[in-house]
Symmetry: D2
Subunit: 284 residues, 4 copies
């Protein structure tokens, strides 16, 4: 007797009648039971998005064989994964540790299924934090174009070597080259320390203070070569008042950055984030 596996299946294709019937038929054929199902038809792009969780004792090959005619017929982009499988993740950091600490703590606490072969940084400050969580850490200075190129080549090497599925920019304070952005398209997440489309450029908290805003926030988004314009995954805000100076806004904002980034990574790891042009579909 085989054990039951809990699968996650995501499907994206042009929207047409009959998709749900075809998909559910294939799942029944693989002796699967649908335990969660979410779908969305985008009026903007005409695309159809679906995420299912399925209990089945069938093997992966049996499941895939049952799905193949459907994914072929509808020209679907599909992904079949096992619930809870750790996501192979590379984290890039600089000096600020709040986002990294939150990611590592939650991974250890069993709240975030990540496999972290390496943390890379352009500074050595966070080495001891990584060491405490037994995660390898590499620091390489990035102060010249040559060093930047070398750093980015090392990133790609690590992505290749460890078959990395997600690169997380956890307050990595360097702008990625267009080439690296392109190479990591759809699998790199950045945390922006502002409530986009809010204050951009340097020191958004200082701008927020000058403008006297009453809420500050953070935005997690996919990395694209168009700086801070990548598809938004998650946003949070917190209330502030006139008594907070710019440095206090930084401290308050960091909490929002941590929880917003961690949430985005968690959803990505659970295949809840799908791209619809410049927008994201989030199946929470």
């Amino acid at each position: 007797m085989t054990a039951t596996t809990h699968w996650i299946l995501t499907l994206v294709c042009d929207d047409k009648p009959g998709i749900v019937k075809a998909v559910s038929g294939a799942i029944v054929e693989a002796d699967g039971n649908i335990t969660e199902s979410q779908q969305f038809s985008s009026a903007d792009t005409g695309r159809f998005f679906m995420r299912l969780q399925v209990e089945s004792a069938a093997s992966r090959s049996t499941f895939e064989a049952a799905l193949a005619p459907v994914t072929d017929r509808y020209r679907m982009i599909s992904q079949l994964d096992i619930v809870g499988r750790p996501l192979r993740t590379l984290v890039l950091v600089s000096k600020a540790g709040h986002c990294l600490n939150d990611l590592l703590y939650r991974e250890r606490a069993g709240q975030l299924a990540m496999d972290l072969p390496l943390v890379m940084s352009n500074h050595s400050d966070l080495g001891s934090l990584a060491a405490f969580y037994d995660v390898p850490f590499e620091a390489h200075p990035v102060t010249s174009p040559g060093q930047k190129l070398a750093f980015e080549q090392r990133v790609l090497e690590v992505v290749e070597e460890h078959d990395i599925e997600l690169v997380v920019l956890a307050r990595y304070m360097q702008i990625l080259s267009p080439e690296l952005c392109a190479a990591l398209n759809g699998r790199a997440i950045n945390i922006h320390h502002s409530f986009l489309p809010g204050f951009k450029g340097a020191n958004p908290y200082k701008q927020a203070h000058a403008r006297g805003v009453k809420l500050i926030g953070a935005t997690a988004h996919f990395v694209t070569s168009d700086l801070d314009e990548g598809p938004i995954i998650e946003q949070n805000v917190v209330r502030v008042d006139h008594s907070r100076d710019a440095s206090e806004l930084v401290a308050i904002g960091q909490d929002e950055e941590s929880r917003t980034l961690t949430q985005a990574v968690k959803w990505f790891a659970e295949h809840r984030v799908l791209l619809d042009g410049a927008r994201t579909i989030i199946f929470r």
Copy 2:
């Protein structure tokens, strides 16, 4: 050529494999296209819940005929309705008008699909508000057991006469008899002026003040004979501090009451609220 109708279909039955396939097959048979689909399997009760929105040019009878074999086989409780059809609603009030005002304003603004044949009250205070919105209004004093019985009989008469689907207790300050609760089971919603399971009994805001709570809230729930213990539909809270006296907590709390009740009514009207024992499934 027939016009396309947007249908809402809700289904509740014991959870078994193959339900989704069977349902989607029936929908395809009725030339329907699923535009929204949500489902939930309750680990607590073993029940399966589904809500679909379907575009179809088929007539109601064709659609129902296609569904019948499936709803029979799985012994489903099913409901087929048209998106946006106004819900026949009876509102009960006393003296406080904040909830009634919000309901009436949103109905007129096109944000809440309700058909309101009558507002009933045990006081005459809110008659002019109802008049402004052209809704008939009846006030009957309820100061004796006989008057209470008469009032409740009138409620049942109105429910019967207008085929009322939902009775909303919009700060109606009388406890319904167990008989009326039973008669309206699953189709009466109350707003409780506290964050249940918080302060119960009289004057929860005074209790909240005495206890120095930092958040106050409101709870919309189905009416059951077990006072304030009916299944919860929606809850909201708002932050308060030590400087608020009990009367200010009342004013602050009223906003939460209004928006919480309106939200619950809106979800109910859209068939997004399903009962799972003592809990609600909310397909938002």
Copy 3:
């Protein structure tokens, strides 16, 4: 024997030692008891801000005489008012009624101390809403430069005639001339249907949808000739997801607009809003 009056006193001046002692001394001299006190020293501008509530049986002239030496010495901008006095307010609207409805409802419910001699509009749609609340209403078309000039002159005439303290732009869809902005400087509040500094220009909700934002919001700010760049008074946001189209974002956003504008007006009426350059001090 004289009755006790509850006073609000606001003071703004350059920050110097000894201010609090001098002020509290003057209050004691007027037999006053300080029941609320808030202060703030702006590191940005070097200005000092104070708001007090004082119980005193002294007459206004006695109180002012006691304060005069202090306000003179520190060259203070001071204002002495009575708690709860209705603010003489002119509301400008166009077609959308959600903000006006909220203001009028709360005024009647006793939650907002306003005296409303007139509502002015460039459309007649909201006349019946104003009529229900017994507030005079004037509609004048604004489709030519001449009509715009006439409308604005009528605004200034009403401001003059009724000694208006605050002009509220409750979704008034016309840009005010620089001359009118200047004339109403510091006493006109607008509600912007976006979370500033977010999407500006036409149809921010459509922009928000295109960008796939996860939170939408509203901003109440003082009117300045620099469109939508006036000092921010209050902001609120609400969570949305990918399933909302632009028209749903509008409906959701309107709730935030109403409550944000009403909150800003309430604080202004209670003398809780003070200007510090391009920022506001809010003594909540």
Copy 4:
């Protein structure tokens, strides 16, 4: 030339006219400049509460001498401290590390001014976390009345030896004896894993699930011998839906517990928490 010190002064006494003048006079006498001031008169108890931040180059003894006549005359409970001085804190834990991790991380990040001579636990699980942050850690089993007595005596010994100002129960899963509660009255803070006055007793998240609540939360409160009825310091909630089982509610709730407890400790360390009978005054 002496350097300027930033002082925090808190004052509690029966409410009477002239207090603010007297206090500000004493501060001027000590060449102090008031940079922050908050006050509250409790209508419930007739008590007056004040918190000031003062810049002064005066020595502590000079400052105290200037204040003495005022604190004597009004029989004030007063406290004079230096802004940012680390609070001598003892943390008690059991097995769950989320609250301890948050406290330690923020202390190191400079966001929480604490001096932690020791973490005590009835389990050894969190020893390595304490070690990473270089904080001494003691584990003593508490499985018998004798062991419980010994543990509590050790607590009092540590409190005595290190002049501990605050004992934090960071998910310490033992009920303190009435004697220890009394000994630590007003200087022990507990985090309750529910939104009080919500679900009490064992496993509140399971109760919350059974009841189908839509919001779960956490409450930080002072420890009293009346279990979970101590004065509330801070509360937070987060939205959940029907799809969350009890174990997910636990994980979600832990974030609220961490941030609620840390916030309460931070306010306490900054002398922003004052007791008014069964309620707290929080000068945020």
